[in-house]
């Protein structure tokens, strides 16, 4: 038994060493934030960020938003940036337990791109990779749904649902401001 335990201890030490190596090799930015809102807007509008405007959520609009998101929206208004050519939206939506921050850019009624600006859950991180977000490029809205099926991430369907819901919402709100 003592020999067994020594082997086990050795394995623990090896695990620890491996983890420390990985941690130092791959250490990056602040926890969970991949791009700040400001950086996202600057990138979207080539440095000339228009003044933000708001849509107040009143009456019928509140119900429509709830239908799209699958739950009540708790805010009073939604902020957006629009320079006449394209609009940008920064929306938060809960994955499983934590909010995910999405940045969405719409041009000519189509999704130009979607970015995960901040991700705080321990599963579903795959949704921020280009292989995944590319599925949303040029997506349009048909009767408040996306014009295409989005392949998910096994074990993280809620993160994928959040991204799809938020994209639909942005496309819908974009029709209101033009």
């Amino acid at each position: 038994m003592a020999v067994m335990n020594n082997i086990v201890l050795k394995r623990v030490a090896q695990c620890f060493l491996l983890s420390m190596l990985l941690v130092t090799a791959f250490s990056v930015s602040a926890r969970g934030v991949y791009q700040t809102n400001e950086a996202f807007l600057a990138e979207t509008f080539d440095g000339e960020v228009p003044k933000s405007k708001v849509i107040w959520i009143k009456g019928e609009l509140r119900k429509t938003i709830a239908d799209i998101l699958g739950h009540r929206y708790s805010g009073l208004r939604i902020r957006y940036w629009d320079n006449g050519q394209r609009s940008a939206w920064i929306l938060n939506e809960i994955g499983k337990e934590q909010p995910i921050t999405f940045g969405i850019v719409i041009e000519a009624d189509k999704i130009k791109h979607v970015k995960v600006l901040a991700f705080r859950e321990s599963r579903g991180w795959e949704i921020r990779h280009p292989a995944f977000t590319q599925q949303f490029k040029d997506a349009t809205l048909i009767d408040k749904s996306l014009d295409r099926h989005i392949d998910g991430v096994s074990g993280a369907t809620l993160s994928v649902w959040a991204m799809t819901a938020v994209t639909r919402l942005a496309l819908y709100l974009d029709t209101l401001i033009t």
């Binding site: 038994m1 082997i7 990985l22 292989a131």
Partner: protein, 415 residues
């Protein structure tokens, strides 16, 4: 003014030529004074209106600012989307109805059972440090002589080293199989969990220990855990060596011989997950039975969901060292299954599954193999709620083992 005066004077003169006497100078002066007063009044009114207008403008601006402040305050304070809420509650549950006939004997299963009622509690201490727990009640009633159990399936503290890597310590689900970590009822097909993962892995399998996990480049991720082990000697007086009987559930678990688990997963393409897990136990009976010892599990699986088509495939194999397990063929326990599915739309999905498993595969002369075919449908009225109906055909190699055939219905939820 001049024009007016001229006009009045002219008309007065014209009137005067007709009959009445022309207004005197005094009367004219009086009229002019009255007009001047009227003008002054108009001017005063004008000033007042200007002042009121300015006042109103100020008020509108103040109101706008107040509304802005209220909206901001509302956005920052409560609301589930923002950081005020550090403690989360969640859960899932499933009610099952089984109508299964034992074709080989009397062990029919006609049962209505709230199979699981689970509550999650989580708390964020800081952005990097959190607690998560899962408490479960099985079969509604627990206690002596009752069919159910209350179990602490998870309770761990997790710390993020950085964006990609984290560690957790406590009781957690082992990173093995498809269902072990994700088994909320609305996430899989079939009322009951599939028999291969149940009997071979054995799902749901949790242990106490420490686990490192994180993301690697190119869509890979890893999990490495050191934890308490199985003890298959626990079943009454006779050691069965059946893997499913070995879970100690971290209830004053014997920790003579620890175990470690490593998994490598690949999720580089949307809709695809490939994974392989290796698990090693120092002594599968925790020193209680001589002539038994090391055990190794190898498991690999694929989960594919592309468009409406889905496929799950899994293979798992245990190798138990020692003469004691070998005597009854328990030195090898294996199982595998394939499950194609078709998601008709957001509400309905169909599936079929073929499973094979054998807990005494080490001895081919022992008739211990099982085969099962399941077909069924899931209905999701909401993404978090599911109603399931499926039919199963079971085939046992041995004529004395139970062969359960029939249908199962289930209702499940997650929040």
């Amino acid at each position: 003014m001049k024009f007016k005066r001229t006009l009045i004077a002219a008309s007065l003169m014209a009137a005067g030529t007709v009959a009445t006497a022309a207004p005197t100078n005094e009367e004219l002066w009086k009229m002019m004074q009255e007009m001047q007063q009227q003008m002054k009044d108009v001017q005063t009114q004008n000033q007042q209106l200007k002042a009121e207008n300015a006042n109103l403008k100020n008020k509108v601006e103040e109101t706008e600012q107040a509304v802005e402040a209220v909206a901001e305050a509302s956005e920052q304070s409560s609301g589930p989307l923002f950081s005020g809420k550090n403690t989360t509650i969640g859960g899932y549950g499933e009610l099952h109805f089984n109508n299964l006939e034992d074709k080989n004997g009397d062990s029919d299963k006609d049962q209505l059972d709230f199979h699981r009622f689970v509550l999650f509690f989580g708390h964020e201490f800081t952005d990097d440090l959190r607690f998560f727990s899962e408490l479960e009640l099985e079969h509604s009633l627990s206690g002596d002589g009752k069919p159910g159990e209350v179990e602490l399936e998870q309770a761990y503290i997790e710390y993020d080293f950085n964006d990609q890597h984290r560690v957790k310590g406590g009781v957690f689900l082992l990173p093995v199989g498809i269902l072990n970590e994700t088994h909320e009822p609305n996430t899989f097909y079939g009322t009951e969990r599939n028999p291969v993962e149940k009997n071979i892995i054995p799902t749901t399998w949790w242990e106490g220990g420490v686990a490192f996990s994180g993301q690697l480049p190119q869509g890979f991720s890893y999990d490495v855990a050191l934890h308490s082990g199985l003890d298959v000697s626990k079943e009454g007086t006779k050691t069965t060596f059946k893997i499913r009987d070995g879970g100690q559930k971290v209830a004053e678990a014997q920790a003579n011989d620890l175990a470690y688990t490593g998994r490598l997963k690949w999720t580089g393409i949307p809709g695809v997950e490939l994974a392989a897990t290796v698990q090693h136990q120092g002594d599968i009976t925790q020193g209680n039975v001589a002539e038994s010892g090391e055990a190794t599990l190898f498991e690999t699986h694929a989960v594919i969901e592309r468009g409406p088509f889905g496929l799950r495939a899994l293979y798992a194999q245990w190798d138990l060292d020692g003469d004691a397990p070998k005597m009854a063929g328990y030195d090898e326990q294996t199982g595998w299954y394939v499950e194609p599915s078709f998601r008709i739309n957001q509400y309905f999905g169909l599936f079929a599954r073929y499973s094979e498993w054998d807990n005494q595969a080490g001895d081919s002369s022992i008739e211990s193999e099982f085969e099962q075919i399941d077909v069924g449908v899931n209905w999701w009225p909401h993404k978090n709620v599911v109603v399931k109906a499926d039919y199963q055909f079971q085939d046992a190699e041995s004529d004395s083992a139970s062969e359960l055939e029939g249908f199962n219905l289930g209702i499940g939820y997650e929040f």
